[in-house]
Point group: C2
Chain length 608, copies 2
């Protein structure tokens, strides 16, 4: 019955250990007194994950029924039929996939084998699957599933080995929500489709980019662009990146193209850094809640542990605003990791913070850098949201703007055009580091992580057109970010607490009041309610937050879409409020029937 | 003095073990009687590698001097000066890099620490660095080198950990030859630059591609192309790939787009397959000589051992033509690997074979597939040279053309446009497999190995323009492959034995007659002589051939370049012949002076 045909489970087990730290509650110090608690929490974690699967299963079955029912509506065009059939096939496939997962779970729980725990990772911004791809992958797994003659068979992969099973499972669990992308909302053609406010994409300016990128200057091709590229990134592009960042980061001196490495996306850059700065099993500190996409890429290759620095939503003595990152917290996390025997090699910062939207002040950044220097840590700082400040009163200071860095050889900046320009489809990520040894080592990864010459050329053309960027693109972008005001006004009306920052593409909202009890299970249930109403948000747990109830909502969408989204959002909360009332009523009734044979009506009223 | 600051060297040591099998002579069975021999061979391998570095060092110093001298020629344009300065800087940087490497070697030799062995990998086709990138990487390492105060410091990397050092060293050693690309030959501007007949690129048709790819139909962009892609490859491209392969492979039925996965290059596809089909330390069989580029990507991530199936250049009882792959040889290699306790999971075939140019007959392919089925092995078959048959008398049968496969679920085909269309800069590689579980698992890698939407669109447009492909591109391509006849005619005149195949972009030539003694050291020396004469070829050792003297020569270049190349080639052989004569003379003299005080002149004459 074991999926591990060679009797060894060390590899996946170790792999899971590496990511487990980012799954919140299961990451406790392994000291004697904590062991039982640790075990209990781990069991709870399995329980939670199992529940997630069951809920998704329920969701899928319900969707299937809905879909079958809506078929009878008078939308009898061939296209509609085709889409419908595809959707049904997707659902069935996904159902099979979920059953497959669940069986694995049950089996791993039953045998005590933890080698198949699905790490709980983000379904966040850069971890996205579009156009029904998830559904197809699911379908494949499903097919394998259905082709097997009995349950035992489903637990054995004949063609993937442990590592392959592990990666495939992590991928599918990470991208689970995006199955729904196969049934995307469209204002004319599919008004009942899913609205995605979960993926951090800037869809409000995509028309501007499409127009700029189809001008004839983009059509140029020379022979060098068609042959093997410079694995480090073409010199012309690295030069332009250095120039662009010099200007936009307000660098005190010209940045050097020799310090630039270009790979296919920021996650590739992060993965390559983790590969060269750490040996397997070593660790980085990551303040959480945090962008979860790095977890997948780290798990895929580098096997570097991401140790969370848990930030608290409450203002306390130790913090003057919610989720404040302080050096004290960093030191505590580092100490905790050291006690557990972990080798911490670096600190990962995202500025602006994702999902909070916080911009670190210049003083704070310096404190974090000094902390890192004190403990001989590398700092990887992701500034991909650099261009997404829309409130001029909020100053953003790139780490590249600092006159002097505490430890320039250990400070590595990641940037890309996926957020600021909204062209995630270009798969462009870049590293800026003064450390030539690190830049050189990361360049090695260009061999399997480079981008095409023609794409590099287009990026170069785009970045060097300052006239268009400054006078066309950025002003229109800022104007369209009125969407932020629209969303926050609605949230105020709905009395939903949120963090009000003047940057990013998202709002970090608090829906604790709709959870009863306030647990991750309830958070997931609420998430499923949104999905029921064809609305995708990102829930706090996928950002490795250790407190339930928070959600990230992308507002950088077009007005019509936002309006529909907020209607659905409101609808869910209304239903949720009603459910809550009913539940309270039932609880009270039960209480009455068990402990107080003749409870006064007032008690019930008071409780509801 | 140890570069391993944490006292542990298991990771790099293990990593090296994984690739060592592909370094030929050091890969002996670990049976008692073989151990001493094994050790001796390993020492010899270190010696050879050390010698390579010393020779490169010599080469670099000489180049530097030459460069400094040529500066005084009346080519005093600003551009020339700039290029000259850049070249000098590159050389100095590379010199520093080589010294850095050598120190590492010496140190690892002195302490018996093998954790820093540089695996000997290919500088082959897809392992290429263009436009001086290697030089820049070298410069960075060099800078680090020079910034350190003493030798001890140079042996410690303060910023990379063991894995990072290991990857960086492998990368730089693999791409060493391509430093010279910074000083490329140009018929007008740099007639003294290096001519590269080492990289498998089809430069004869690049003008056709550049023209086609700049037509206005290539300029189209829609919003979906700019946003997160389907990690498995955009559906429109997968559909077109399936259609193209159906036609070009003469598939008996339409190939299914659901079986297609698109990643950024064939090496990425191979790496992903190795990741999901094997656990670390497990192995694939690879008939050698073989394309060495997979070694780097396998070493980078998958840590899958490539076990060579050594083919012999001699026609023997077991083979009816040179380097024939037989099932007997596969079985022997598999048995040998099993005796050594290796878990072999698959067989890697390249058809057409690179560097031999052999096309496997349909019967042979079936035999290999049956062999794999018998032993429950996956077969990864790379058909990237599919479109490069220029002799119509030679039939090529894609594995996708077979009516039925012995084990379709374990047969995985790799293809791309780098060779057939010569657009390696597009970074396009694709997997075709009927195994949905494998396809799904490989799709997971799209997250860090996808290509940009705009590139996917262009590829789709290109593949679907059958009119252009069939009536413009392929006929002109075949016509221009007259270059093959030009080169082989020259080789005949020079009496150089070579394998005469009607396909591929390369000729596999035998220069054993110029080696005395016939060793890998002498092969390397000859390689250096070519470099001295600004000619880059690929030597047999980089293809993991276990017999010295063979070289791969790319002929798919423009006539003028080929003519200059063959002149340089001839010049080297003439010099080599003279050297050989002088050496024989000296040997004889020595013999005379030590053993025969009064040797007759006739002996000397006879020997020379």
């Amino acid at each position: 019955m074991s999926k591990n045909r060679d009797g060894g489970s060390s590899q996946p087990a170790e792999a899971n250990r590496n990511t487990q730290s980012m799954s919140g509650p299961s990451d406790m110090p392994s000291m004697p007194y904590g062991q039982m608690r640790d075990q209990a929490l781990r069991n709870r974690s399995i329980h939670t994950q199992l529940m997630e699967i069951v809920l998704s299963l329920r969701q899928t079955v319900e969707d299937n029924i809905t879909q079958l029912m809506t078929r009878h509506q008078p939308q009898d065009l061939a296209l509609e039929k085709q889409r419908h059939n595809q959707a049904v096939r997707d659902k069935v496939a996904f159902l099979g996939h979920l059953m497959f997962q669940m069986l694995h779970y049950l089996q791993s729980g039953a045998t005590g084998d933890r080698s198949f725990q699905l790490p709980d990772t983000s379904m966040d911004s850069r971890v996205d699957v579009r156009g029904g791809q998830q559904a197809q992958s699911s379908r494949q797994i499903c097919q394998t599933f259905y082709q097997r003659s009995d349950f035992e068979d489903t637990l054995i992969s004949y063609d993937l080995y442990n590592r392959g099973i592990d990666i495939s499972a992590l991928y599918h669990s990470s991208f689970q929500d995006y199955t729904y992308q196969g049934n995307k909302y469209h204002k004319d053609e599919n008004t009942l489709g899913y609205i995605n406010l979960g993926t951090s994409e800037k869809k409000i300016c995509i028309d501007l980019l499409a127009e700029r990128l189809t001008r004839t200057d983009m059509l140029y091709i020379d022979e060098d662009l068609l042959q093997y590229p410079d694995w480090r990134g073409q010199p012309f592009l690295r030069k332009e990146v250095a120039r662009f960042l010099t200007s936009d980061c307000k660098a005190p001196a010209h940045l050097d193209p020799e310090n630039v490495v270009v790979l296919n996306g920021c996650s590739s850059v992060f993965s390559a850094l983790a590969m060269v700065l750490c040996d397997p099993g070593e660790a980085f500190l990551v303040p959480t809640p945090s962008y979860g996409g790095f977890i997948f890429s780290t798990h895929l290759y580098a096997k570097v542990e991401l140790v969370p620095v848990h930030l608290e939503s409450q203002v306390t003595e130790a913090s003057s605003y919610p989720f404040q990152l302080t050096v004290d917290k960093l030191e505590q996390a580092l100490l905790g990791a050291k006690i557990e025997g972990k080798k911490v090699r670096g600190l990962v910062l995202i500025n602006h913070q994702n999902p909070l939207g916080d911009i670190y002040s210049q003083d704070s950044v310096m404190e974090y850098l000094e902390f890192a220097k004190k403990y001989n840590l590398h700092v990887i700082i992701d500034e991909i949201y650099m261009l997404s400040v829309f409130d001029e009163a909020i100053p953003f200071h790139s780490v590249l703007s600092l006159e002097s860095l505490p430890d320039p050889n250990k400070t590595h900046v990641i940037w890309g055009t996926s957020k600021g320009f909204g062209i995630s489809g270009f798969r462009f990520g870049t590293l800026y580091t003064r450390n030539r040894e690190v830049a050189s080592a990361v360049s090695s990864f260009g061999y399997v992580h480079s981008i095409s010459g023609v794409t590099q050329y287009k990026l170069c053309q785009l970045l060097q057109d300052r006239e268009w960027v400054d006078n066309v693109y950025l002003p229109i972008y800022c104007f369209r970010l009125e969407a932020h005001r629209y969303i926050t006004d609605k949230l105020k009306v709905l009395k939903i607490p949120f963090l009000n920052r003047g940057c990013g593409l998202y709002v970090w909202i608090n829906l604790k009041q709709y959870l009863d009890p306030c647990t991750f299970e309830e958070e997931l249930l609420l998430h499923c309610c949104f999905l029921d109403n064809k609305l995708i948000l990102s829930r706090g747990k996928t950002f490795v937050l250790n407190q339930p109830g928070w959600f990230r909502l992308i507002f950088a969408a077009r007005p019509l879409l936002l309006r529909s989204a907020i209607q659905r959002f409101h609808q869910v909360l209304v239903e949720q409020g009603q459910d809550w009332g009913v539940k309270q009523l039932e609880d009270a009734k039960e209480e009455v029937s068990t402990s107080q044979p003749a409870a006064p009506a007032s008690l019930t009223l008071r409780k509801s």
